[in-house]
């Protein structure tokens, strides 16, 4: 009985102290530049269909030589982020990512029975974007701090051989979580941690067939350093 009675104040004390430490950590990292680097995956998306149509004597009824359907495959990405706090819960972040996805064009229904085949090309794809990060500290749990983000930027795609460049735009919305692993009250490096990001990207321009905007999901995990 008495032992239990003694533990309750101890646990209560720990619960009281823990938020205080978390608040102290957050405060110590305020107004600091954050650099993060990580890896992830940019999921694929359909780019559209295109038919090799020839003209016929009857208008409106083309002769289909073959059909094609093209998509960009999922690919690993490496990405780097640079964050600048604005104060309070807000920060701005610059981000760049590199991937090496395949363009896969499925060819079918050939008028002269050429075997169906998927023709492939590899791209080098670079994304440069920036956005606003909003911390959701009220939903922090056990030192894991959620955030939401949104923004836009530029996409640069280089075809195989790096001789043809396609430009496009990207807009994104997403979120993630951060966890600070270690902090220091002073010094050049003030903290390190890990973060996970998930984004829904809307890509327009670049390699495309239909005019509609493509949606690519990306997820990544990073380590960050606070200076």
């Amino acid at each position: 009985m008495s032992a239990i009675a003694r533990r309750i104040p101890v646990i209560s004390l720990l619960l009281v102290i823990a938020p205080a430490l978390a608040a102290a950590q957050t405060a110590s990292l305020l107004h600091r530049i954050e650099v993060a680097g990580g890896v992830g995956v940019l999921m694929g998306a359909a780019l559209g269909s295109q038919n090799a149509d020839l003209r016929t004597a009857t208008t409106g009824q083309p002769y289909r030589l073959f059909s094609s359907s093209t998509r960009m495959s999922a690919a690993p990405i490496v990405d780097v982020r640079l964050g600048f706090p604005l104060g309070g819960r807000y920060a701005v972040e610059a981000h760049t990512a590199y991937g090496h996805p395949e363009i896969r064009t499925a060819l079918s229904s050939d008028a002269e029975h050429a075997p169906d085949l998927t023709a492939i090309e590899r791209l080098d794809q670079y994304v440069f974007d920036g956005g606003l990060v909003v911390s959701l500290d009220r939903w922090s749990v056990a030192g894991v701090h959620p955030f939401v983000t949104g923004g836009g930027g530029y996409v640069r795609q280089l075809h195989e051989g790096l001789v043809v460049i396609e430009d496009g735009r990207v807009f994104f919305a997403g979120g993630g979580v951060k966890h600070t692993i270690h902090t220091r009250p002073r010094g050049f490096i003030r903290g390190i941690g890990a973060r996970a990001d998930a984004r829904l990207n809307w890509l327009s321009g670049g390699i495309h067939i239909d005019e509609n905007v493509r949606r690519h999901v990306s997820v990544s995990g990073s380590l960050f350093v606070v200076f």
Partner: protein
């Protein structure tokens, strides 16, 4: 001393070529072999002066004929990436078959050419390849139409004129089309992807009033302008069958982005082909045997192999602006 040679290319129905084709290009350019090598047939005058025959046929007056031909010339002049200009001089009673220094277009009755709608002939400087004169006759044994919407019982004059004027420029035939053999002989066109396809879409069809990407690329390659050379690219590759080159394979490049098709041929024993005039980007490459018209309507080569199956290249080929793709091979299988 400069000699003039006269050649003719029949159009829209098979007939033999008496001119060469240039093997380096995708689409066929007419050429002539001279002592100093093979020369592409081109006009070197800044403005080609032409005359219209003053002879009409039932359903088409001389003035209607002139208006349709002028529109056909304007169609080629409007290609933004080519620089070629034409000038109507006047009507003439001269025949479109005379070697008289005049470029004349007109009707002429040629009953012995019962499957030829029209034909183009040239007088050339066989040293430079320069076209000195080019005449076009439209076979008066057929019935012709100048109706804006076409006449299902007649051949559309403007459509045939656009094709023939392509020859006047120096273009050969495109193989971008599909045909089937008629039980009574000859071929029926199922579809065509170029005005320069050698067989007509038939009576009433007016589709050939409008140039296709293959036609535009061919004319622009002969008379480049508007950044054509800098802003377009080419594909370079080989067609192989059992490890050896295929001569005379028809190679089609379809833009993944736009669906535009520009085609060429493998015109060397090595199976090498080159297709130029492509907008930069990725292309599907398809190879098929040259079996949709008489081979002689395209070029007069021996050893053309048509005993293989149509096939796609397993890689998308990329045409860069102002250059050519990395060389690649397309392997086909025997039939």
């Amino acid at each position: 001393m400069t000699r003039h040679v006269r050649g003719a290319i029949a159009a829209l129905m098979a007939a033999a070529l008496t001119l060469n084709v240039s093997p380096a290009y995708g689409y066929l350019h007419l050429s002539v072999t001279t002592a100093s090598g093979t020369k592409a047939l081109v006009w070197k005058t800044p403005r080609v002066r032409w005359f219209a025959s003053d002879r009409g046929v039932p359903g088409v007056t001389a003035s209607q004929f002139q208006a349709e031909i002028a529109q056909a010339f304007a169609t080629w002049e409007a290609v933004p990436t080519a620089s070629i200009a034409f000038q109507f001089v006047g009507f003439t009673s001269a025949s479109p078959n005379d070697e008289d220094g005049l470029t004349v277009l007109g009707f002429d009755s040629q009953p012995d050419l019962e499957r030829v709608l029209g034909a183009t002939s040239f007088v050339l400087d066989d040293v430079t390849g320069e076209i000195v004169e080019s005449d076009v006759f439209f076979n008066a044994i057929f019935t012709w139409s100048v109706s804006a919407a076409g006449d299902p019982t007649r051949f559309d004059l403007q459509s045939v004129a656009v094709h023939e004027i392509g020859h006047v420029l120096g273009l050969g035939h495109s193989a971008l089309g599909e045909t089937e053999i008629r039980p009574e002989g000859g071929r029926r066109v199922l579809a065509s992807g170029a005005v320069m396809f050698p067989i007509s879409l038939g009576r009433g069809a007016i589709a050939d009033r409008t140039l296709q990407p293959d036609d535009i690329a061919g004319a622009s390659d002969l008379y480049p302008d508007g950044g054509f050379t800098e802003n377009t690219g080419g594909l370079l590759g080989r067609v192989l069958l059992n490890g050896r080159g295929v001569l005379g394979a028809h190679v089609e490049a379809m833009s993944v982005a736009t669906g535009a098709i520009i085609a060429g041929f493998s015109l060397r024993e090595s199976g090498e082909f080159q297709i130029r005039g492509l907008a930069p980007g990725a292309y599907v490459v398809r190879v098929e045997p040259l079996d949709d018209a008489d081979i002689e309507s395209f070029f007069s080569a021996t050893g053309v192999d048509i005993n293989f199956q149509a096939a796609f290249s397993p890689r998308l080929a990329v045409a860069p602006a102002g250059g050519t793709s990395e060389r690649f091979d397309v392997t086909v299988r025997p039939k």
